[in-house]
């Protein structure tokens, strides 16, 4: 189990890195757009046009890593007052609900991408179809659901057979504040 977990963590981290490389490229393009406009009054057509949709793909790519590393903001007051077993029970419950959440979002996102394809929605300026980007986002969310499934199974294992769990994988805890 721990091995599969580590494997999903690495894959998820890779996607997040690729996503953020995409963001970096977007930043470079935006910077170029600004400088061209500022110096020569001739911006690159469509930079802002694609940024919204590229952004969506970037963010979706970060979600599996966030789930597989359990980096969601939680309030863990109660756990401090409970014995270790109680905390494990709470964490398992939270993982199951998170799994329900991601499965619903992934499922609905697939339908959303389909509806974008059927309706033929396009970007404003360059008239690029938007559905491929949403399909990519759906794939990322499906992978996110898988990653969360692994996390949930790990938690169940830790709850039911604590002796079989060797050590928890690293949990870096970044914050937005």
């Amino acid at each position: 189990m721990q091995k599969i977990r580590r494997w999903t963590v690495s894959a998820a981290r890779l996607f997040a890195l690729i996503g953020f490389c995409g963001l970096f490229v977007l930043a470079v393009m935006t910077g170029a757009d600004v400088f061209l406009r500022w110096l020569f009054n001739s911006p690159i057509a469509g930079v802002t046009d694609v940024s919204a949709i590229v952004m969506a793909a970037v963010i979706a790519a970060c979600i599996p890593a966030n789930l597989s590393l359990r980096q969601n903001l939680k309030v863990e007051i109660l756990g401090g007052m409970l014995p270790a077993r109680g905390t494990r029970f709470l964490d398992t419950l939270a993982s199951i609900l998170t799994l329900v959440f991601v499965v619903i979002v992934a499922w609905q996102m697939v339908l959303y991408a389909q509806s974008m394809r059927v309706s033929g929605e396009r970007t404003w300026v360059l008239a690029l179809p938007v559905w491929p980007w949403w399909t990519f986002a759906s794939v990322m969310l499906i992978f996110g659901a898988l990653a969360q499934l692994i996390v949930t199974l790990t938690d169940l294992q830790a709850l039911l057979w604590p002796q079989t769990v060797d050590e928890q994988p690293v949990n870096d805890d970044p914050s937005l504040i």
Partner: protein, 433 residues
């Protein structure tokens, strides 16, 4: 079940789930969805679970958050924090407790190129804390000034919390950034006053700095050109209209990257590290915003927020008292909840009340960010304090909490001033229009 009861039950269940360790975004989204389904049916409720994440992810106002996160990470990799710290120490480092003052000023300067308070704390935890301990500062004042200085990461624009607030309230990010300039300067000044008073009362807490030759000082000051240029390019560019907030963030990322590259500080490893660091906090903020919007739609269809506004509006108390009551509730909530979480959870209820009494949402945004800043220092979960303790386990939690108290008093005094004189906040945006 009538709609108000449904809203109440939904809110209670949501809070209960959060107390049971369920991630905040997940708890809000699930309760919002189930509640919405009771009113509009399951089909529409389930569809919200795609259309809301989709519009959150493609929201360009929010895209500024990952960009500013990345800029901060790259600035840290490129050694800009060390530059600005050296510069500040050459400016003010000589007096008693001068390095604590240096830390606060440098944190404020770094806050102008970094949107995160925790990142600012972690950065100066590495740069400034060991230096102060080596020079014989008491651990309390050393760690206290780093933890308090860290809050300047969100109080000085750009700030991820301000962007979050603006996205949730549909206010202009630029206006909130502008409005927070004067309060941010007040914060730095009040922290300096807090340090001076503390070392004046207890001189043994901090030694004098060493005298440095004028030429050395000028050299140190000049060495700080990189962070100054970055802050001027980003904030100056936004305020002068050369570019939009999004473009400024993109340009900031590029500049921070180039500085790190040309200084030779950038390796593939730490570049990827910076990307990973920024991406982790990004996904977290998105999931939370998404949950908050689904939940707020649920509250909207029940009419719960309208009811609450009516109820509070009919109370026979002066509005400033209600504002102070809100602030006290937020500070108490901050003891149990994460402060950002309490902002996200309460905004659907609190903002309509603020607007009902005719207060400016931009002003309330500044107050809200200040309250979050205080929460980052207050026990039991003061995130900055806990972070420093995890970086330096030999400095005990109790010591750091003792060290931040003078800064918390300064925060409270400043908060009262800002509430009583809204023009301190609203004057600058009004003249910059």
């Amino acid at each position: 079940m009538d709609l108000l009861t449904l809203a109440l039950v939904g809110t209670v269940v949501m809070l209960g789930l959060i107390a049971l360790h369920v991630p905040i975004g997940v708890a809000m989204a699930l309760c919002g969805m189930v509640g919405f389904a009771q009113i509009a049916g399951w089909g529409p409720a389930l569809s919200l679970m795609a259309s809301e994440p989709a519009s959150t992810m493609a929201n360009l106002d929010l895209a500024v958050v990952p960009l500013f996160m990345l800029m901060g990470s790259l600035a840290s990799v490129g050694g800009l924090a060390t530059d600005i710290y050296d510069m500040a120490s050459k400016l003010v480092g000589r007096s008693r407790g001068g390095l604590a003052t240096t830390t606060v000023i440098a944190s404020g300067g770094f806050g102008a190129v970094c949107g995160s308070g925790v990142a600012t704390t972690a950065t100066f935890g590495r740069v400034a804390l060991p230096e102060m301990m080596r020079r014989g500062y008491s651990p309390a004042i050393a760690a206290g000034s780093v933890a308090a200085g860290g809050t300047l990461g969100i109080i000085v624009p750009p700030s991820s919390i301000m962007i979050l607030y603006c996205v949730l309230t549909e206010e202009s990010v630029l206006t909130l950034f502008t409005a927070s300039i004067v309060p941010a300067i007040l914060t730095v000044i009040s922290y300096i006053v807090a340090i001076r008073l503390t070392v004046w009362l207890k001189p043994d807490l901090a030694p004098h700095g060493e005298a440095v030759a004028l030429s050395e000082r000028l050299k140190g000051i000049a060495a700080g050109w990189r962070p100054v240029l970055l802050a001027v390019a980003v904030l100056g560019g936004i305020y002068s209209g050369v570019f939009t907030v999004n473009e400024a963030a993109a340009v900031g990322v590029l500049l921070a990257f180039l500085f790190a590259l040309f200084r030779g500080a950038l390796t593939v490893r730490n570049f990827l590290g910076a990307l990973a660091e920024a991406s982790a906090s990004t996904a977290m903020i998105y999931i939370m915003i998404f949950g908050a919007t689904v939940f707020s739609y649920f509250i909207a269809v029940t009419g719960g927020a309208t009811f609450l506004v009516g109820a509070i509006g009919s109370l026979d108390v002066p509005p400033p008292l209600i504002i102070f009551a809100f602030i006290i509730v937020y500070i108490i909530l901050g003891a149990f909840f994460d402060e950002v979480a309490s902002l996200v959870i309460t905004l659907p209820f609190v903002l309509p009340v603020i607007l009902h009494f005719g207060y400016d949402p931009i002003w309330w945004g500044v107050i809200n960010v200040m309250v979050i800043g205080i929460g980052m220092l207050m026990p039991p979960i003061g995130i900055n304090v806990m972070l420093l303790n995890s970086m330096y386990p030999e400095v005990k939690l109790g010591t750091i909490y003792r060290g931040v108290m003078p800064f918390v008093y300064a925060d409270l005094v400043r908060l009262v001033i800002l509430v009583l004189f809204p023009s301190l906040t609203l004057w600058l945006p009004s003249v910059m229009r």
